[in-house]
């Protein structure tokens, strides 16, 4: 019986080893800097690309844009020189990311480091796509490092490189454990992790500790990804997302144990391989048809993470929990009626006046804004980082298609689907109310992966890769369908339907924000203990907010289903959820205006079209990379997003023009205000430039974020 599966188990050693190596790096950086780096897989991915390029022709390709990135170093690279180059390169990369990105964010809220590391991940993915000749893979011969001949191990055939990879990871684990236990540097790292103040007072520099550990971690990640290439291949997106199972392993080790993280990583790899082997076996008939086989394999590790996280969580933080300061400011919505009339009016004119291409972009913008609005509610107002919003949208999207195809009329089907999404949101919120900060981000990410792999990928639910189509929405004999029969011409009437839903949603969110519900949300975001002391049921507030936000996400999913000819699972992949959060942050995560700007910036939204139209599509070349950098810069310097920068600029302008009732003594400062106002204006311009990028990626194979 065992023998039947031992092949699968051993085949999983390779994948498990790379997960373990990344988990080691995550544990190391967390222990030394307190940061969880979502871009860790992407960093390893870049190093591996650089290694194979160098090994092939001696060219070092740097992760830069605009300036020449290719340096010819050696005419005849050898295995040794190439590996040496890879080690040095990863060390430099680790040092640079620590110093430039994570060191400034040491004391920032979890949201800022999540967004910054997402920005780094997007940037690295895009730089690899731009700078490496991956499109024509034939130009690079990927020369593997380890021998690939099969050997017999425990009576089963397995390739040598898998076993050697495990040896590498185990050696790294032993080395790190020894480093931490027996060296002065390890002692200092453990000390700094225990008490940063204590460390500084005895003369230990936390920056030096963070820098060195970040370098070591990146070297391990880089080498592991280089070694895994012959087994798992190398791809900017897939390889970057190896960080997810690695997070699972690291979390099982409490983000502090190297040995447990490694064992968990290897275990996850073998378990995945075993599940795959078991489920593809013809005799495995008890698993229902609708359960996606590969999904089961992906979902198991994240479900483990979820259990670990929730088990450790607590309903209220204890006295020692540091309250995140410096959250993005959330101003009370003002002039709501005026804004509504202006925006609805302008959009209506645009829907009627635009040609089909622009009308399509406008519809995409509105649907994306709706999804962003759901993120504003849960993450901006309540401070709960949710990466599951896109999955809620997906659930609603396929639900509406299924129930409508079963004969439910349009508005009822849409309502049912939205309610289903809301219910799923509440179910997700029940355990999520017990964790906070970075842990919540990971928990919701895990649930998003579980939903994607088990539900959205289910053939019976979503039609699998082929996708499904919704029937035309007809209400009281009026056809709201997006396309004229047979032709794809984006009818304005569908645009008005979307506009109506978006307007009502925005108004309701504005009302909630101005009423006591919104105050309670902001109170929970600001300080959970004080909120409880003010009589607020913190868990119930969070669950209520999850319900509202998943309801809005569900609406977005329903509209998305009606707006495309075929809805496929690709629209709801996890990377899209990360991009959606990042765009909303860019727009301004704690205001309705921020959601609308995020919609404009969305891929295939208005900005993309304008940018590509103005430059014959050339604007798309660098914009994704710039947007990644922009996210990092925004996370560090402008947590209020574009709307915040605009608001500040407007305030400065107002002050310098003498508009508004300023106390007399402040007129002295008018000159300074004008100067600062000009500064703010530059900020807006820079932000808008970055935003442009985020929307207008070339994005082949890049899923829509909506």
């Amino acid at each position: 019986m065992i023998g039947e599966y031992s092949g699968f188990i051993l085949a999983g050693l390779g994948g498990g080893a790379v997960v373990a190596a990344l988990a080691l790096g995550l544990v190391l950086t967390n222990r030394a800097t307190g940061v969880i780096n979502f871009a860790f897989g992407a960093m390893g991915m870049y190093v591996a690309f650089a290694y194979f390029q160098f090994r092939d022709n001696g060219d070092l390709i740097l992760p830069v844009i605009f300036i020449p990135s290719r340096i010819h170093l050696l005419a005849t690279p050898t295995l040794f020189t190439a590996l040496l180059m890879a080690v040095l390169l990863s060390a430099v990369l680790g040092a640079a990311t620590y110093w430039l990105v994570f060191r400034p964010l040491r004391r920032a809220p979890a949201l800022a480091s999540v967004v910054a590391s997402l920005g780094l991940m997007l940037y690295l993915q895009e730089v690899v796509r731009l700078n490496f000749p991956t499109g024509s893979a034939a130009t690079v011969v990927r020369m593997g490092v380890l021998p690939e001949r099969p050997v017999r191990f425990l009576g089963t055939a397995v390739t040598a490189n898998r076993l050697l990879l495990v040896v590498f990871v185990v050696l790294a684990t032993v080395a790190l454990t020894a480093l931490f236990r027996y060296t002065k540097f390890g002692l200092q790292t453990r000390a700094a992790a225990g008490s940063q103040k204590g460390a500084m007072l005895v003369g230990i520099s936390p920056d030096r500790i963070g820098l060195i550990n970040s370098m070591i971690a990146t070297v391990i990640a880089g080498i592991a990804v280089i070694l895994i290439e012959p087994i798992s291949g190398l791809d900017p997106i897939t390889t970057s997302l190896l960080v997810l199972p690695a997070l699972a392993a690291a979390l099982l080790g409490g983000l502090s144990s190297f040995a447990i993280a490694t064992c968990a990583g290897l275990g996850i790899g073998m378990l995945q391989s075993l599940i795959l082997g078991y489920t593809v076996r013809p005799s495995t008939s008890w698993i229902p048809e609708w359960v996606p086989r590969t999904g089961l394999q992906q979902a198991v590790p994240v479900i483990l993470v979820l259990i670990a996280l929730v088990w450790r969580g607590d309903a209220l933080p204890d006295r020692a929990y540091l309250v995140d300061k410096r959250l993005p400011s959330s101003p009370t919505p003002r002039h709501v009626t005026l804004w509504t009339i202006l925006l609805v009016g302008a959009t209506s004119v645009a829907l009627l006046g635009f040609d089909a291409a622009y009308r399509q972009a406008l519809i995409v913008t509105m649907v994306s804004a709706l999804l962003a609005l759901s993120i504003v509610v849960i993450t901006g107002y309540v401070g709960q980082i949710s990466l599951a919003q896109l999955a809620f949208a997906g659930v609603a999207g396929f639900t509406v298609i299924n129930v409508a195809n079963d004969g439910l009329p349009f508005p009822v089907a849409a309502l049912v689907a939205t309610l289903v999404a809301t219910a799923v949101g509440v179910v997700v919120a029940l355990p999520a109310a017990r964790v906070r900060g970075m842990s919540l981000a990971i928990a919701t990410l895990a649930m998003a992966v579980a939903l994607e792999q088990l539900v959205l990928s289910s053939k019976g639910f979503s039609g699998g890769v082929a996708g499904r189509s919704a029937p035309r929405p007809v209400l009281f004999g009026v056809d709201f369908g997006i396309s004229a029969r047979g032709a794809d011409n984006f009818r304005p009437i569908f645009g008005f339907l979307v506009l109506g839903v978006l307007t009502v949603s925005c108004l309701m969110v504005a009302n909630l924000r101005r009423n006591r519900t919104g105050l309670r949300w902001l109170a929970v975001r600001s300080n959970e203990r004080a909120a409880a002391a003010a009589g607020i049921n913190v868990a119930r507030s969070k669950i209520g907010a999850f319900a509202v936000s998943s309801c809005i996400a569900g609406l977005a999913g329903v509209l998305l289903a009606y707006s495309t000819s075929t809805l496929s699972t690709n629209s709801f992949m996890v990377i899209g959820a990360l991009v959606a959060l990042a765009l909303t942050y860019l727009g301004g995560i704690a205001s309705i205006g921020g959601a609308l700007i995020a919609g404009l910036l969305a891929q295939a939204g208005l900005f993309t079209l304008l940018a590509n139209g103005g430059t014959d599509g050339k604007a798309g070349t660098y914009v994704f990379a710039i947007s990644g950098l922009g996210l990092i810069v925004m996370a560090i310097f402008a947590p209020d997003g574009i709307t915040g920068a605009v608001r500040q600029g407007a305030q400065h302008l107002q002050r310098s023009l003498g508009i508004g009732a300023q106390p007399p003594q402040q007129t002295l400062l008018a000159g300074a205000g004008a100067g600062a106002g000009a500064g703010g204006g530059t900020g807006v311009g820079a932000a808008a430039g970055a935003g442009l990028g985020a929307g207008a990626g070339p994005g082949e194979g890049e899923p829509h974020h909506e």
């Binding site: 969110v509 006591r516 409880a532 009589g535 607020i536 049921n537 509202v548």
Partner: protein
């Protein structure tokens, strides 16, 4: 005798291996201001945390009521449920909602939500004027700052906002954790005037502070905590002359001076 609002019996709290509060018992009667004093680390904040539901008592006998409020055991209630029964508390570090204006800080605490209120809040655009909020703003002289954020206020005003947030829900019992910390003498005098007016408004008070002149000046009854236990109880006059109290603050006078100085608690 007036009615007992809060009855604490045999309350113990353990943090790790340390017994932070050890079998503490006392009462707060209706309309009373009761003071809780003691050196730093004596367990005062722990006591407020336990009373308001933020810390779980270590000994838990389900048939015994450790904390009773208006004759009802509240040992198992969550913090927010205790608030709804008529508890209110402040924090040593104030813990104001920095994102909200002063008025909104108070509005948050003013009413209990229902499941329906989320729905009505979504549909109804108008901000309702809340009489209770406006009344407290006026009482504390905060109406001029109602639309300012707490960060723009002085330290004394911020303390008043914290007290206001606790008062706005019309509590029966107010637990104040070092409300005078960092206040200047005139602000402290204002505070003590305010505290004295509370019993007339139907609010009983448990006051934790280091400012001896404040505590001894406004309280009807004072309990002295040291190393988690109550070492003395009595009227301010009795406490002032209690040798145990003096030694708790000044150390056991085995060396040095014969007549210990009656200094106040002194941490910064």
């Amino acid at each position: 005798m007036s009615e007992v609002v809060l009855q604490v019996r045999d309350l113990s709290v353990r943090y790790g291996g340390v017994l932070a509060l050890s079998s503490v018992s006392f009462d707060v009667a209706d309309g009373q201001i009761v003071g809780l004093i003691g050196p730093n680390g004596a367990g005062k904040t722990t006591c407020i945390d336990a009373l308001s539901g933020f810390t779980t008592p270590s000994a838990r006998n389900p048939s015994f009521s450790y904390i009773s409020f208006l004759g009802r055991s509240i040992d198992r209630l969550s913090p927010q449920s205790r608030v709804r029964l008529g508890f209110a508390r402040t924090f040593q570090s104030l813990e104001l909602f920095d994102d909200l204006t002063v008025r909104d800080n108070l509005r948050v605490a003013a009413a209990t939500p229902t499941w329906i209120s989320t729905l009505t809040d979504a549909l109804w655009p108008k901000r309702k004027v809340d009489a209770a909020v406006e009344e407290v703003l006026e009482l504390l002289g905060l109406d001029r700052f109602a639309e300012d954020r707490p960060e723009h206020l002085s330290n004394g005003q911020r303390h008043l906002v914290a007290v206001g947030r606790a008062l706005v829900g019309k509590p029966k019992l107010l637990l104040l954790d070092e409300p005078a910390a960092g206040l200047n003498p005139s602000e402290t005098a204002e505070l003590s005037k305010l505290l004295r007016s509370l019993p007339d408004r139907g609010v009983s008070v448990l006051l934790v502070d280091h400012d001896m002149s404040l505590v001894l000046g406004v309280c009807d009854q004072v309990h002295v905590l040291d190393f988690g236990s109550i070492i003395a109880s009595g009227t301010p006059e009795q406490i002032r002359s209690d040798p145990l109290v003096i030694s708790a603050y000044l150390g056991h006078g085995s060396s040095g001076v014969d007549e210990p100085a009656p200094g106040a608690g002194s941490e910064s």
